[in-house]
Subunit: 267 residues, 3 copies
């Protein structure tokens, strides 16, 4: 089966199963993330307290950790939730927001990849490079200038971290170090709204809850999100309206559209 059809077929499964996605995420994107997951058909929950994160993570279909507005308390909760997820076979997806922007973020990101077994790590090139110790420029929480071969970076990171890596940018790369896909979807307007990367990470999380081949799950998440981003852009041309249109496209996008619009290239 063509990869596009294969990953498109996962969306009806996701909507049927409505997986519970436990997010420990940053306060900037929490509402947008919850609404995006709901629109797609998943069931989001946000829970941070050390007294409950292990209990919540073990009943979830996936755990998503996002360090956008990191504090040491939150890191402790992430580790506790992550260990519980690891013990109970719940996939953990990690978004190292702004790794490289400050020493604290880089250090915390590395602590998470060392202490937890991840299903997928999703970031821009600068973030992934900083997590694995490559030199790469970053400005605030946005990727700096691309300074190298993204496919090579993704493969190296996947092997080093022992997890599926998704690097998103103009072209998105998903790899486990062996099987590699380049996804050519999405829209430039995604860069004019905050949290579109964070939401994508949570969407990938939702797919890992229903597909245990995490290369496939991450590819499905990235491609279906990119297709929704293109559909959303058809009707609008400014970021406020686009934010709403993106949620609506995540809600309305169908398997057939993903199969037809997704452009996935095996590398």
């Amino acid at each position: 089966m063509m990869i596009e059809k294969q990953i498109a077929a996962l969306l009806p499964q996701l909507r049927e199963k409505k997986p519970l996605v436990h997010n420990i995420t940053n306060e900037v994107v929490t509402n947008f993330t919850a609404n995006g997951l709901l629109a797609l058909g998943a069931s989001p929950v946000m829970a941070y307290a050390p007294e409950e994160v292990a209990d919540m993570a073990k009943i979830a279909g996936a755990l998503v950790l996002n360090m956008g507005t990191l504090t040491t308390d939150m890191i402790a909760s992430m580790i506790m939730a992550g260990r519980s997820a690891n013990e109970h076979g719940v996939p953990v997806v990690f978004d190292p927001v702004g790794a490289g922007a400050t020493p604290f973020r880089t250090e915390m990101a590395r602590r998470i990849v060392e202490e937890l077994e991840l299903a997928v790590i999703r970031g821009n090139a600068a973030e992934i490079a900083n997590v694995v110790g490559d030199a790469w420029q970053i400005k605030g929480v946005d990727a700096g200038e691309a300074g190298g071969d993204i496919v090579e970076l993704a493969r190296r990171a996947a092997k080093k971290l022992g997890t599926v890596v998704a690097i998103t940018g103009k072209t998105d790369i998903v790899t486990d170090g062996e099987t590699t896909y380049a996804i050519h979807n999405g829209d430039e307007m995604l860069t004019r709204i905050t949290g579109t990367g964070c939401l994508l990470t949570s969407v990938v999380g939702a797919y890992t809850a229903i597909e245990k081949d995490y290369v496939l799950a991450a590819t499905a998440g990235v491609a279906s999100y990119g297709v929704a981003a293109e559909i959303a852009r058809q009707s609008v041309n400014a970021p406020g309206a686009y934010q709403i249109a993106l949620l609506d496209a995540l809600y309305s996008v169908e398997e057939d559209q993903i199969a037809a619009i997704a452009r996935i290239e095996q590398k």
Copy 2:
């Protein structure tokens, strides 16, 4: 006077008085809650620091406590704010988000109902059941399958807790254990946006600031919100646009529309 006309007449009073509603709520819904209260005509304030919650609660028209993203610090602030509100005759409305989903949440919800005098508690059936110690399934922070008679549950909870109970779902129930109303308004799309239940709780809070018969206040909050939800649905069919349309409907809804569209049945 018909109950629909009676509760509709409260909206112009609310808009005239613009009650200050002090919210200690979860970080997922804080923006949506503030905007919903502003749209309706109330004056929201969010304040959490232990150094100021007692001061803020005592000058408010109502205090709304929501444990969606609970921490122990926040529980301490809620108790301090709640005691200050109780001392100064400010109604306290409580939303036990996700009670039953983890032992921590259940325990914290029970602590709040024990330590504070509540005007209204608003939740779905599973949350209310878990607060009063009934067995009821819950998935994440969403209600599980209805496993019993909601009216009976609401009455039992009201008597046990000594407060007005509002259980929302396909049909909404408001009762103090004696007088009971079933409200048949709302729209299924409310379940596709995060925080619609939380905002409803704050809307009920706004009504308790202007109407001391809390059965009436809660019924007004639930019914006017349900009417706005129906008006919002007339123009849109996807959750992003619906979120905006709901805010706009809360802003534009008029007394006459509530009187005409509200469907309230005394049980």
Copy 3:
């Protein structure tokens, strides 16, 4: 050159330079603030942890401190970030949300103006009055009844605090105690959305990153925001849609429109 043309000319510079604006702000408005800054053309980052705020502030073009949902931890982070910004010549813009509403807020606001060197302080009349110790009524976080001469208050505050003061309301005043502008733009609908004042403060922050004459920077921020607010209102008449339209207007507004629509009066 006319002041309107002069400040309009700053917008293309802002969009060219895309300054990194480090916000330590309240959880109600964090998403709206980030999206507003992105829409305008700046690059927002939110970072709060004491372990990283000094590192983030020193690489930023401006630091914006907003005490909307203040805690003592956050005040400590604000002071650390502010000192780092002061040391590295990064302008600091402060929004004393709700100063006067509780003793805690007033005290914390005064601590910030004492311990940090500010480029601009932006608030409503009641907030600014409370920061400088004038008696002024405040309700929650909204300005109370205007009880005095706003221009006089702004000048007095600017001299006392040694910073540029921007007081916003029906008419907006920007002054350093010597040069004073009154800006007659904006729209009443701004008062029906939460966080429009907070976003304005961050927009002023973005302008201070590219214009070292802070009277000019603050005037540019206030006037361009007011013009966008008027453009947004042309198409909509309710607060949900207005919130989106405002983001879109910040994205689409051009130098020519600001020069033509801004109404700035030197006092």
